[in-house]
Amino acid sequence: MSYASQFALSVLPLGALVQGIGLSEPQYVRCDGLPRARASFPRLSTLFPFGRLTGTVRSLAVIPVALPVVASADHFIAAGATTSSAIQYSADGVTWATAATAFQTVSALVATPSRFVALSSTAQQPLASATLVPTSTWALTSAGPSSVAAGNSLCRLAYGAGKVVAVSAGAVHTLDDGSTTWVSRTASGANRMGACWTGLRFVMVLGSNSSLQLSTDGVTWTDGSLREATSTNQGNIASNGSGAVVVSGSPSGLQLSTDHGLTWDFVSIPGVQPSDTWRVQYAGDRFWLPTAQGMCMSLDGRNWFLDTTHVQPFVTAAAVAKKGDVVVQTASTSAAVAYSYSESSTHFATPRIAQQTPALSGNPTPYGITYIKAT
């Protein structure tokens, strides 16, 4: 960060963060998190790839028993109630209905190119839909994991290399395309939290552990390692499918790999206090990270942008799915409520930098008024 008293302001580059007084637009924009028009700040807006989000409250068909929500090309799918209508779906994120299924309590969901698969937190086998039509037949599979509690994980199911990988605390299973019979696999480690497909391999994250498990086929797993261990019962992982992989659940916040999970760096988000309760996800075209300060988004897992939309509560326990331009967020298992987002094409959200508190400390460090150089 630069200080106004030490540098000639005119030589600061576009996007430099400055603390000072008497700075004003159009050269300097205050980092207050408020939206700014791209037309008013054309150069500055090039640094912000995401439009300002507007949230809308949506009524679900039923109170979901778990947070997971996923999207196919045509539908959003979310957990329903503990019934034989264990799935609810929507084509537009506005109107939701339940789908008939075998009796289950959904704890995890994934959309493959041909069907949906769901895990159960009770003693039922996983469900698989016949097609990607939510009202197609949902039937029980066999030899798969049962009683898989979601816990703090939103990544218990991953799809890649022609198969679904299911990660429960003590087991790993795979389900090939077109099959309804799971195969149990062997992998090292305990307290497995979840996995993702990076485009080249599956990467599995464990709770209370800096170890990872890597596999190109979901069958044979080898050891890998993070820079920092995840906290107890924490650990989520997501990838853009092109080699960028982000892990959340450690006290420093986020860890990023750009080589399909082999090597890792720490990543920080300006103005956002890190937390080991974060649950990173990838949906649509970007990474999502619900935080106590608002919703963070990233294209590459390294550069993150905070949006402080105010309709929905700022909570870390939230799941996100994106279909086309519509984003759906679930954040409650006590009300039949979800939230949709629309993204502005004309406005972007400026950074919101007010104070920073180091992880695990009750000692906030208030910043002076922070500006970003806009020209």
């Binding site: 939206p35 300002r52 507007t54 949230g55 809308t56 409250v57 949506r58 009524s59 679900l60 537009d92 994120g93 506005v94 109107t95 106590a292 309709v311 509560p313 909570v315 086309g324 331009d325 519509v326 984003v327 954040a331 409650s332 006590s334 009300a335 039949a336 409520v337 949709s340 987002y341 629309s342 993204e343 406005h347 104070q355 695990l360 400390s361 009750g362 000692n363 906030p364 208030p366």
Partner: protein
């Protein structure tokens, strides 16, 4: 411009930042226009859903003065303790803006103090950590950092 409320329903009210220049379809008696984020859909009007209770970020945060006051009659015993560890904990507390009673470090520090100051009993420790924080006990931090 056409405006939509926080539930997506078309509204005549001018709501900043909740607008689109896409004209809505013709509404009927039973079907109302709702903004999906990328277009309008005609759906049967539904009353706003019951919202979940919001989490309170300051629920277990306490100002430093009220934290000291929670020690009651044992407060002076703690403050006059000549144990170096107790004095270090007192100093560490005093440089902070607030304490999070749910942080394990706070419980650990309290346990150490208790080992050196007998009047800080296990029951008092539990009371200090588990009593819900009253509005008067975190007024300062709420006004300064969470408003």
């Amino acid at each position: 411009m056409y405006y939509y409320d926080i539930y997506g329903w078309l509204t005549a009210e001018v709501i900043p930042d909740r607008s689109t220049d896409v004209p809505p379809p013709q509404e009927t008696e039973s079907l109302k226009a709702n903004w999906t984020g990328s277009g309008w859909v005609l759906v049967e009007y539904a009353a706003p859903p019951e919202m979940p209770a919001s989490a309170n970020p300051t629920e277990w945060l306490i100002d430093i003065g009220p934290f000291f006051d929670r020690f009651g009659a044992a407060k002076m015993d703690v403050l006059v303790s000549d144990d170096a560890g107790v004095q270090a904990i007192i100093k560490d507390v005093q440089v902070r803006k607030w304490l999070d009673l749910k942080l394990p470090e706070v419980a650990q520090s309290l346990a150490y103090v208790s080992s050196k100051v007998p009047s800080v009993t296990p029951a008092l420790q539990d009371e200090i950590l588990s009593t819900p924080v009253g509005a008067h006990e975190n007024l300062s931090l709420r006004k300064l950092y969470f408003s």
